[in-house]
Structures are given as structure tokens and as C-alpha cells.
């Protein structure tokens, strides 16, 4: 069901959706209707490149950030580091409409007993979709508070049965020069990784939506991970491959500048980035030009759930 809001009002030409955006929207909408079947879809009007569709039957969870307001949705969807679509944080919202998110397959492979290629719909319906509000801390020292929709990555991992030799999980993002800009200077496709215990941690969310809707392309549609106690770049977007490996995988930013971005990249106020302090962050959760600058929390405030995984490790060395 497509609800057209404010039908009677005359639409200014500035608001008319460009044809390609509309086509992408239609395509995605059809894809979702077909692919998700039982989900029961109510489409929201596209704002910009929006092909986001409301997700029904979300399970509410205790994951919340009671002391911080949720970031306005427009901000979360217009300020994205998604270098495949340009280097400026405003670029992905302008360019990512070109990404075709249907059909979409995710190959889960490597050191697992049951390797398998999942069609997007299968992955979407594997487990009930939960809504979780997480702090989101970018390595650039700004942060947001975002309600994500998904289920624990652990649920998927259990299905494919990793072999004892599998020590790390690697995520490969989509690489497609027809739809993406893929700027020089970075080796594509984007690759990220987690240690097995990090990937199995219940906080690690296989994410399909935000704000109760499917992900906008610029947020990494149709499926990404969210690892809330790590800097944002660890949370790979638009994933096409999940690979179980024995050795620590090469990851994009670590590969580019290992002195700036470690493999772990846990949010840690005591370890500065060479060019800026990580002790505090600009909290982007209001429509005010005077930002609240707040102290950054160890493990982004998730120490209780994750600190034990790093017991005995020198986090100054393993940054």
C-alpha cells in the first residue's frame, strides 16, 4: 500500500523526484514486495533518494540510550561516510540512489560446515527483526544515536556452523563501478573484519533497517553490520560476502593507514587518533548549531557487554 501524503497540495518543482530516483524507488519497492512477501509493506514516500520501506512486526528490545536523544532521521540519512559514493559526507545521500539493492545475495563462505548463498529475502526473514537504539561513534569524533533494525549476527553464524579453525569473520562490501564512484586512493572492495568472539557478541547486529524502515542506500542498504562499541568504519555496509577465515583479514582503513586505524578500533577515549583527540565527541542529536561536546565513553558505553573480550590485552597497542 502506497500512501501519498498531502496529495491535494500542489507539489513545487523542487520536490519532484528525479526520474532515475523514482525508478530506483519503484524497482526497490517491487523488489521488497516480491522478496519479503509476508512482511506486510507500507511504503513511505521517498524523501530524497529514499526507497525505504516500513518494516512491520519489529520486536522492541531493552537496547536503549536513555540519557541521549535520538538523532533526527534526516541527519542520520544525510551525513554518511560511504566512500564508494564519494568522499564528502553529503555525497552518499546524493549518489547512492544508483545502487541496485535487488536482487541481492549474500555469500556466506570460508571455514564453515554449511557455506551458503542467501537471497536477501531469506536473510531478512531468518530471525525476528528487533529494534535497538545504539550510540554510533565515528572515528572523526562526532556521534549520533540511531535506532537500528536487525538481529544478532550470531544467529546467522550459528546457521552456517563455523569450523573450529575459523578465528575471524570478514565482511566484503559491494563493488560495482557502474553504480558507485569508487574514488582512487582506496583499494576496493571495502573490507572489514571482526574476531570470532566479537562477531558472536549479541550486540553485533546484522542490520536491515533504521528508524523502523529498511536502510537507505547511503546507510549501506540492503544489509550491513553495526558494531556499536567500535568506530563507525568497522560496521561494513552493503555486504555481499561474509567469509570465515583463520588469519586476521586485511581491512580497508587499516590497510591504508595502520597508524591511524587499528584492526580493533574499539571506541577508546584514552587512545587518540594522531590528528584529533578521541576523549570527547560532538553529539549530533539535536537541530542546534551549538553542539554538545560530551566525554567519549570506554567501548562507547558498552564496556559491561564487551570489555571481558579484551581482558589482558594492551588496548594502547591493539587500538
Amino acid at each position: 500500500m502506497l500512501l501519498l501524503k498531502d496529495r491535494e497540495k500542489e507539489i513545487p518543482s523542487s520536490e519532484i523526484t528525479p526520474k532515475n530516483t523514482y525508478e530506483a524507488f519503484q524497482m526497490n519497492r517491487r523488489a521488497l514486495m516480491a522478496g519479503l512477501g509476508a512482511m506486510g509493506v507500507a511504503a513511505a514516500l521517498p524523501r530524497q533518494a529514499g526507497a525505504e520501506v516500513k518494516i512491520d512486526g519489529l520486536v522492541t528490545t531493552p537496547y536503549a540510550v536513555p540519557d541521549r536523544a535520538v538523532t533526527p532521521e534526516e541527519k542520520a540519512k544525510s551525513y554518511n561516510n560511504f566512500y564508494e559514493f564519494g568522499e564528502d559526507k553529503g555525497d552518499p545521500a546524493k549518489n547512492a540512489y544508483k545502487l541496485r539493492t535487488y536482487p541481492w545475495n549474500v555469500s556466506v563462505e570460508g571455514l564453515v560446515a554449511k557455506p551458503r548463498t542467501f537471497q536477501f529475502g531469506e536473510l531478512f526473514h531468518l530471525r525476528p527483526m528487533e529494534s535497538r537504539v545504539y550510540r554510533f561513534r565515528c572515528v572523526e569524533a562526532w556521534s549520533m544515536v540511531i535506532p537500528w533494525d536487525g538481529y544478532s549476527l550470531a544467529e546467522l553464524i550459528k546457521v552456517v556452523e563455523p569450523l573450529p579453525k575459523a578465528k575471524f569473520v570478514q565482511f566484503i562490501s559491494v563493488e560495482n563501478s557502474k553504480e558507485e564512484i569508487l574514488p582512487d586512493g582506496i583499494r576496493w572492495p571495502y573490507s572489514e573484519g571482526l574476531r570470532m568472539d566479537e562477531a558472536m557478541n549479541p550486540l553485533t547486529l546484522l542490520t536491515f533497517g533504521s528508524y523502523g524502515e529498511t536502510l537507505a542506500n547511503q546507510q549501506g542498504a540492503p544489509v550491513r553490520v553495526i558494531v556499536p562499541w567500535k568506530y563507525g568504519f568497522k560496521s561494513a555496509k552493503s555486504i555481499v560476502k561474509i567469509k570465515f577465515v583463520e588469519k586476521m583479514p586485511e581491512t580497508t582503513w587499516n590497510d591504508l593507514a595502520s597508524d591511524e586505524y587499528g584492526f580493533y578500533s574499539n571506541v577508546n577515549p584514552t587512545v587518540d587518533h594522531p590528528r584529533w583527540t578521541q576523549a570527547h565527541e560532538r553529539l549530533l542529536n539535536t537541530n542546534s548549531i551549538f553542539p554538545k561536546v560530551v566525554p567519549t565513553l570506554m567501548f562507547n558505553g558498552y564496556a559491561d557487554q564487551v570489555a571481558s573480550m579484551y581482558a589482558g590485552m594492551d588496548l594502547r597497542k591493539n587500538y
Binding site: S78, W142, P183, A257, P291
Partner: protein, 232 residues
């Protein structure tokens, strides 16, 4: 350009140079600035970009005059554009001090309104240690501050009276520091972007071209005067 027209041109250039600042103010008042996802980041880049562009603008005048003699009157705009570079660089620095560093603007404003005129100072003292620490640790802030300091010196020594008091030779020596300021500003830009990001290449290319043109001109002049000397 008849010299009678120059005052009008100056007014026009003033208006053009102020336009970016006015646009930013307009964005503040009509609320679009607040809707930017990260307003502080936006202001920082906006003022930094314009400072750099103004600096490049003022550095364009000399090579332009040498190439096109009909444009030699533009020398009368050079100081003004240079001062606007300083103006935007100062806004850029203030953005860092007042918005980036954690300075509590609402608290400072509320304090002043309640009659505590020293409140902004108190707030500044609160963030001072963090800022010094930042300056000590970060090379890109150091070179940025160095570039701003040069522009400050040039701005202070820019009036005709100061020029006369210093003597043309000395004045020119000091004002050649503008090349260093340009280079430092570019280094500042390169050092602040992420590894792999190449956004600063355009301004770097323009600055390089402007500097190479000067070196070329200087070399040519050397060669010519050399020849003259030999002929004589």
C-alpha cells in the same frame, strides 16, 4: 580602467568578498545551518575553504598583471582581498576555539544575559587545557595557526602608513611571507584529511601554478638583465 571607476569596483569586490559570510549568516538565521547534519563541521570547512580561496585570489593578482598589462589596475584590489583572506581565516580559527573545542556557547550567552560579563572568559578557561593539548599534539593545527599568525602580521602591516614607516624594501620582505602562509595552509589541509582523500589537490595545484609563475618571471628577468649586462 579609469581611476574614477576604481572606488565603484572596490565596493563591488567588497560585496563579493562578504557574500560568503552573509550566506552563512543567512543559513544561521533561516535555520538551514542547524539542519546541516554537522553544523560545526560545515562552518569549519566553509570558513577554511574561503580563507584559502581568498588567499589564492590575492596571490593571482601579480602574475595576472604581468601577463595582461591592461589589468595592472587590479593591484589596487590586492590588499583588500588579502585582508578578506585574513577575515575568513580568523572566522575559521574562532570556529575552532568557540565551537569545535567544546566551548559552551549557550552557557556563555546565558551568563552574559544574566549580567555575569566574565562568563565567556570562565568558559574559555575551562577548555583552555584541552586546546593547548590539541595544539601541542597535532601538527596540522600547528601549521594552521602558523599560517594564521602570518596573515595577522600581514594584516597589521597592511596600511599605507605602516608601509611608509617600514620602508618599501622591508615591507616587501615581510609580505613575501604570504607565500609561506599559502604553503602552510595547503599543508594544513593535506594533514587534516584522511589518508586516501585527495580533496586538497585542486588548491594545491592552483597555489603551485601561482608560485611557479613567479619563479618563472623572476628567472626571465634575471636572464634579460644578464644579457643586457653582457651586451653592455
Amino acid at each position: 580602467m579609469p581611476s574614477r571607476a576604481i572606488p565603484y569596483v572596490k565596493v563591488l569586490v567588497h560585496a563579493l568578498c562578504l557574500l560568503p559570510a552573509l550566506l552563512l549568516l543567512r543559513m544561521y538565521f533561516n535555520g538551514t545551518l542547524a539542519l546541516e547534519a554537522d553544523p560545526v563541521n560545515y562552518i569549519t570547512h566553509f570558513t577554511g575553504d574561503w580563507a584559502l580561496w581568498m588567499l589564492l585570489g590575492s596571490l593571482t593578482i601579480t602574475p595576472l598583471r604581468r601577463l595582461v598589462s591592461a589589468l595592472s589596475w587590479t593591484i589596487r584590489l590586492r590588499r583588500m582581498i588579502g585582508l578578506y583572506a585574513f577575515f575568513y581565516a580568523t572566522l575559521h580559527l574562532l570556529t575552532y576555539v568557540l565551537l569545535f573545542s567544546g566551548f559552551d556557547v549557550p552557557a556563555a550567552v546565558a551568563g552574559v544575559r544574566a549580567g555575569h560579563l566574565m562568563e565567556p572568559w570562565t568558559q574559555l578557561k575551562l577548555i583552555w587545557p584541552t586546546m593547548l593539548d590539541d595544539l601541542k599534539k597535532r601538527k596540522f593545527i600547528q601549521v594552521g595557526l602558523a599560517a594564521w599568525t602570518i596573515l595577522l602580521v600581514l594584516a597589521v602591516t597592511s596600511p599605507q602608513r605602516v608601509l611608509r614607516a617600514m620602508g618599501g624594501k622591508n615591507w616587501q620582505r615581510v609580505h613575501r611571507l604570504v607565500y609561506l602562509a599559502g604553503m602552510l595552509a595547503c599543508v594544513h589541509f593535506w594533514w587534516l584529511v584522511k589518508t586516501g582523500v585527495r580533496t586538497p589537490w585542486k588548491v594545491t595545484a592552483v597555489l603551485s601554478l601561482l608560485l611557479v609563475m613567479r619563479v618563472g618571471y623572476w628567472g626571465l628577468k634575471k636572464m634579460k638583465t644578464g644579457k643586457v649586462a653582457v651586451a653592455a
